[in-house]
């Protein structure tokens, strides 16, 4: 037989649900807002039923339609009139809604049986009322458990406390709105509530109010020159300070939390443009709450006296409820009762934990299979949902249609936890505007319930993309890319906008300067925007925007590493606007490039052609000189065309009238495309090979000599490997290989012996290469001695000395190379 496993804390102020599984308890988070608990509040607003945080919010607006603390009326004949729906409800009805909401926290494996906790004070009628609420919520089997017992179980189980002798525990439950204290007798693994005491109107909220009244209001009165502020706040229902009161309550609660971990907290207020800051010390806070804590101590003492229990008979006090986070509560209890005050588990979820532990030991009596079959038969199959998949609006309309005169409820939630319609009644058809998070894929879940609130339809992962596509504009025919420097001295294309993105488009990129550009040095920063394919070489694409920032335009030197902001905008008519901002030198340039005018720079074309010629020559060298193959023929053809283009470029120097430069640019792109097609794939495969070899080398070294730090670096480099290896971006793969080589180098220098080779690298140089030959000679002698004595610490010092003496320092292969464009 299966165990019940699910435990529910149906609290006066907050509720929660957990499950016992494989010896542990998992507390289910509220899918709306992802909190462990749900405020036990129900609200009716228009046609909606709201449960939890949103219901609580409406207390001040429509108090007549918001219901909280109804647990106190469980089992009574109290009738609640709900004006919004013109119906009467009972505490059982509201508890049922809270329980249904809690059951919703659980994913697919919904509970059909549960342990529900009740206060120690509940009589048989109140207990039965709780059971009725559970059955109404769809549970078929319910076991009740007293809250203090649940708390004791949570502590005993989590700490594995042996309960084999007679003990008395005190459960001190100081929550958000209520205080309860119970004496529990423990004997031979049996737990029994001996007696209890409490105050239904004493909790954390009273402490927040005290802080506002006695700490915040006096300061505000002084600073703002208002008299009797607290009285004005609470004195009338339509107080002009109502908004201020909410802010003060929020600040007080934040400060209260901070004072639980720190000795002082600062409260900052900005009221009518007046900035007020005040410090609250823990000492002052403790003095303030003293009377409230004493009130709980008095109730506790009364309970002990009633039951003739002395302080030293209490083996431990266990803490439950959020207010027990306050250190003063714990220390006062310790001082007063001189016993163990146990706060080892989260006091806000202790009851749920205990209920779930208990549920994990209780065997189910009913058959689950029959229930599931019955449920499966009633599911709706022909529900139609209509909506736009892509949207640029803040909200998108969803229409739902259910045939056959269906009446019931629907509820739509967003899976990120930020949107929830609550339960809404409908007949056959419903419409809802769904709120979207900008620039994101929004996943929704649509649920339909029959009039008894049984789930009859569920559609998960209904997706609406915001801002990703516009349904009216025209798509981009090619990628739009920015040419940037890599760390290897070459350039590559970074996508700004993707092919098929819909116009108009805008994007901001943050880059850095990749080479020093000194004022009036003749250097320049090049911003080149091309249209084409991001994975190809920059020069084979069509230039649509070209901007040079010359050194003469600079007000100061532009240093390598300086930040640069570039805004790109493409209008529906494909005009490109570039705005460049360099904060360090306060330079801002805006340029508009018209789609009909091609952007060409003879100097850049020349540079590209010259670089390519070297590459083609290098490529030809990789073939045998006598080899005749179509590839070699094509490469020779490319070579000749590049030379011809370079010649033509010289010829047109100074020609500002004819279109020849455009012709050259067109031919250049064609010839580069041919070259790209010829070699790119081959180079890519070769680079992937290099990468894999470098990766294996590091892996093997780490296997032989594990090092967590280097392993961390290694994993960082190979993260998203599939993505960059399939990117077709040669530069990207090359830079990854370089990073792996750098790691290999670091592994190599972990061995002391590696420094011997490095030493001889310096020792075998000409002495004339050193600034001070005599000192260098001394270093070399010292190094040789250190090697014979295996004194590697000394050897490292010698190497540092020799390096600093070198007139020209050797270049570090792993250092990033300066860029050619100046943009990285």
């Amino acid at each position: 037989m299966e165990n019940i496993n699910f435990g529910i804390d149906l609290g006066t102020t907050n509720s929660g649900i957990g499950k016992f599984y494989q010896g542990k308890v998992n507390i289910f988070k509220n899918p709306v807002g992802f909190r462990d608990t749900l405020p036990s509040v129900v609200a009716y607003r228009n046609s909606r039923i709201l449960v939890g945080d949103k219901a609580r919010e409406l207390i001040s607006v429509q108090p007549e339609n918001v219901f909280s603390s109804f647990k106190r009326k469980m089992g009574s004949e109290h009738i609640y009139a709900v004006p919004a729906i013109n119906e009467n409800k009972t505490a059982i009805n509201f508890s049922e809604l809270v329980l249904r909401e809690l059951i919703n926290f659980v994913g697919d494996d919904k509970p059909t049986a549960a342990v529900i906790t009740i206060p120690a004070s509940f009589d048989t009628i109140q207990s039965n009322a709780t059971k009725t609420a559970g059955y109404n919520a769809g549970l078929q089997e319910i076991v009740l458990l007293q809250e203090p017992i649940a708390a004791c179980l949570a502590y005993a189980n989590l700490q594995n406390i042996p309960i084999n002798e007679d003990k008395t525990w005190l459960v001190y439950d100081f929550g958000g709105g209520t205080f309860d204290v119970a004496l529990v007798n423990i004997n031979n693994r049996e737990l029994k509530v001996m007696d209890h005491e409490g105050n239904n109107f004493l909790g954390g909220l009273d402490i927040d109010n005290l802080m506002v009244e006695h700490i915040l209001c006096p300061v505000l009165e002084r600073e703002l020159g208002i008299g009797d502020l607290w009285k004005q706040i609470v004195g009338t229902a339509d107080s002009p300070y109502k908004k201020l009161f909410f802010e003060l309550l929020y600040r007080a609660e934040e400060a209260k939390k901070e004072l639980s971990i720190k000795e002082n907290a600062f409260v900052e207020l900005d009221i009518d443009s007046k900035f007020i800051e005040l410090e609250i010390t823990r000492q002052r806070f403790n003095e303030l709450i003293h009377s409230k804590v004493i009130e709980t101590i008095t109730l506790t003492n009364r309970l002990l006296e009633k039951n003739s229990v002395t302080n030293n008979q209490i083996e431990r006090i266990i803490l439950v409820g959020g207010t027990t986070y306050i250190p003063y509560v714990k220390t006062t209890l310790q001082k007063e009762f001189d016993t163990i005050v146990d706060s080892s588990i989260d006091p806000t979820t202790a009851i749920i934990m205990g209920a779930s532990y208990y549920a994990g030991t209780k065997t189910r009596q009913t058959n689950t299979a029959i229930a599931e079959e019955k449920e499966a038969q009633t599911m709706l199959s022909d529900v139609k949902l209509a909506y736009e998949v892509n949207s640029q609006d803040d909200e998108e309309l969803l229409v739902g249609l259910v045939p056959n005169e269906f009446s019931g409820y629907y509820r739509i939630t967003r899976s990120d936890g930020g949107f929830d319609t609550g339960l809404i009644t409908f007949h056959s058809r419903f419409t809802e505007f769904l709120k979207l998070i900008p620039k994101n894929s929004n996943f929704f879940s649509v649920k339909i319930f029959d009039k008894y609130q049984n789930l009859v339809f569920e559609k998960e992962n209904l997706v609406i993309n915001h801002g990703i596509y516009n349904i009216t504009g025209q798509p981009l025919p090619n990628d739009i890319c920015l040419e940037i420097d890599d760390s290897l001295g070459t350039t590559y294309l970074e996508k700004i906008f993707r092919k098929n993105d819909i116009l108009p488009l805008s994007k901001k990129l943050y880059k850095t300067i990749s080479k020093p550009i000194l004022k009036d040095s003749g250097e320049k920063l090049i911003i080149n925007i091309v249209e084409g394919r991001a994975e190809t070489s920059p020069a084979s694409n069509l230039c649509i925007g070209y901007l040079e920032i010359k050194s003469e335009m600079l007000s100061a030197n532009l240093l390598k590493g300086t930040d640069i902001e570039i805004d790109f905008e493409i209008s529906e008519s494909r005009d490109l606007t570039i705005n460049v901002f360099i904060g360090a030198i306060d330079l801002e340039i805006t340029e508009i490039f018209n789609a009909s005018a091609k952007q060409v720079s003879p100097s850049k074309i020349q540079l590209e052609l010259e670089k390519s010629l070297i590459n083609v020559d290098d490529e030809l060298l990789s073939y045998h000189p006598e080899e005749c193959s179509p590839a070699v023929d094509k490469l020779n053809g490319v070579r000749l065309e590049i030379i011809d283009l370079l010649r033509e470029l010289i010829e047109i120097d100074g020609d500002l009238v004819t279109d020849r430069i455009y012709n050259i640019d067109e031919r250049k792109r064609k010839v580069f495309q041919i070259y790209d097609d010829l070699v790119r794939r081959k180079h890519l495969l070769a680079e992937i090979d290099n990468y894999q070899t470098a990766k294996m080398e590091v892996k093997e070294s780490l296997l032989l000599k594990p090092n967590p730090r280097i392993e961390g670096l290694f994993n960082k480099v190979i993260k998203n490997e599939a993505q960059f290896l399939n990117s077709n971006q040669l530069s990207l793969i090359k830079s990854k290989t370089k990073e792996l080589d750098k790691i290999s180098n670091e592994i190599y220098y972990q061995e002391d012996e590696s420094y011997i080779n490095l030493f001889y690298f310096y020792a075998y140089r000409e002495l004339s290469e050193y600034v001070d030959e005599k000192l260098a000679r001394n270093f070399i002698n010292g190094g040789e001695k250190a090697i014979t004595e295996a004194n590697y610490k000394e050897l490292r010092g010698v190497i540092n000395g020799l390096y600093s003496l070198l007139k020209e320092k050797p270049k570090n292969y792993f250092d990033d190379k300066d860029g050619t464009l100046g943009l990285k």
């Binding site: 709306v32 807002g33 992802f34 607003r45 909606r48 709201l50 945080d53 949103k54 919010e57 409406l58 001040s60 607006v61 339509d238 109502k242 908004k243 009161f245 909410f246 802010e247 309550l249 929020y250 900052e268 900005d270 443009s273 900035f275 899976s415 990120d416 936890g417 930020g418 949107f419 929830d420 319609t421 609550g422 709120k435 998070i437 900008p438 620039k439 994101n440 894929s441 996943f443 901001k508 943050y510 930040d563 902001e565 901002f581 904060g583």
Partner: protein, 95 residues
């Protein structure tokens, strides 16, 4: 991270309206970097109160309908599987 985001938000709000222009780019950059790290930050100031928007913890005064003050922004975090999770509710005053 959500506490750092709230602090940045508070600093931004402490700056007087006449001085904000000079910090605009800095805040844009900070929010851009946070976005790159998977955080979406939403300041609901000026929005109409919507009881379905559970990313907001509202204190409603004077039967108000508009969000007039934001004490904390809403923060979503993009998980590695591409799904979003609300990690901080906005705390607002409606009035």
């Amino acid at each position: 991270m959500k506490d750092i985001i709230t602090q940045i938000f508070e600093i931004e709000n402490k700056i007087k309206p006449e001085d904000i222009a000079q910090f605009k780019r800095n805040f844009q950059r900070i929010y851009h970097e946070l976005e790159q790290e998977g955080y979406t930050i939403i300041n609901p100031l000026g929005q109409i109160y919507d009881e379905r928007d559970v990313s907001i913890e509202a204190n409603i005064a004077d039967n108000g309908v508009k969000i007039t003050k934001v004490l904390k922004p809403a923060v979503y975090k993009m998980e590695s599987d591409g799904s979003n999770t609300l990690i901080q509710k906005a705390v607002v005053i409606v009035g």
